[in-house]
Symmetry: C2
Subunit: 203 residues, 2 copies
């Protein structure tokens, strides 16, 4: 009996570590990268997924979601509620695919956003009749660091410069299109990671 | 480089599943069962630990902790704050052993007690300079059920009858010694689990 799990994937170290944990628990991991069709920034996640040897697919979400998120950024002058909004829509979109029984992501214990509190996590499971799995939720930064360093070759850069595939890239792009400087909305030195490949697959 | 983790262990399915996950993540797992020296109920955890092939040790905590917990039960007419109190003391006792760098337990996302909220979890890590790992925190009941059923032969009985090694056994005993009927304090049909052995170790 195959246990398939659809895992939201950005190519960063948290979502890569979660994917590895899921395989170690016996799951058949399908990576899913969200795109709004504005940019082909999903290609960085695809590249990393292929290097790591995972199945990978792109899931396109309606552009209205990104537009609503951009509006939230402009209203709040901060990206938190927009990122949270996109992530919930992304989880719901994956969970609503008929063959999907398990959905996962790389959110951490110490994350503020995106993050589903217990009632929201249960609501997601109940509304879509799926299991929602967060392999990193019970790990602190020390544990995530020691596992990541053992497993992956990682590139760390500032968000603005990094070639990656998270929601931020298209959100920043849409803000620029609207004449808004993303640097006025997103925290200044926000370091992000991108996994380049395995350092050691079996630890 | 060995990554040792000291894992609070009752012989139940949650703490056994967590121990298995830790080994799958590359950790060298040392099981620790708490005893207050009133009963030898730790022997059930030891037996299961041996069947599963894990290192196992008993950590004796001062009897005053159990006495204070019994007092809390009698005051509250409910065991929740007592169980929470004992668990925090148990985590602190393991974390304060000099060679310990990582402490873990089998607490779940859906548990009310024992459970450390985020500030308490971080405080434990900071005060004792350890990593606190909860492998089940990001898993819901469906996921825990499917993994447990694949991995273990499990016996499920009512708490009052089950041969197991959690805090409840000695707490109930001390209450009876004080002339208090535990059935008036603990919820009536509280089913507990004990792992008897592997069904399939590698899934």
């Amino acid at each position: 009996m195959k246990m398939e799990v659809y895992h939201l994937y950005s190519g960063g170290k948290d979502s890569s570590l979660s994917a590895w944990i899921l395989t170690r628990l016996g799951y058949d991991v399908k990576l899913v990268t969200i795109s709004f069709g504005l940019l082909d920034s999903w290609c960085f996640a695809k590249e990393t997924a292929e290097k790591l040897g995972f199945d990978h697919q792109i899931l396109y979400l309606p552009r209205e979601i990104l537009e609503k998120a951009a509006g939230m950024c402009m209203k709040d002058r901060h990206p938190n509620s927009a990122i949270q909004f996109i992530h919930e829509k992304a989880l719901e979109a994956v969970a609503s695919i008929p063959e999907v029984e398990r959905v996962s992501d790389g959110t951490r214990r110490d994350d503020r956003v995106p993050f589903l509190d217990l009632p929201r996590a249960r609501s997601l499971e109940d509304r879509f009749n799926i299991a929602y799995i967060r392999p990193l939720l019970g790990l602190g930064y020390k544990t995530i660091k020691e596992l990541t360093e053992k497993l992956f070759v990682v590139e760390i850069r500032e968000s603005e410069r990094l070639e990656k595939s998270d929601y931020e890239v298209e959100l920043r792009h849409l803000l620029r299109e609207r004449g808004v400087n993303p640097l006025e909305i997103f925290p200044k030195s926000h370091h992000q990671s991108r996994v380049l490949g395995w350092r050691k697959k079996d630890i």
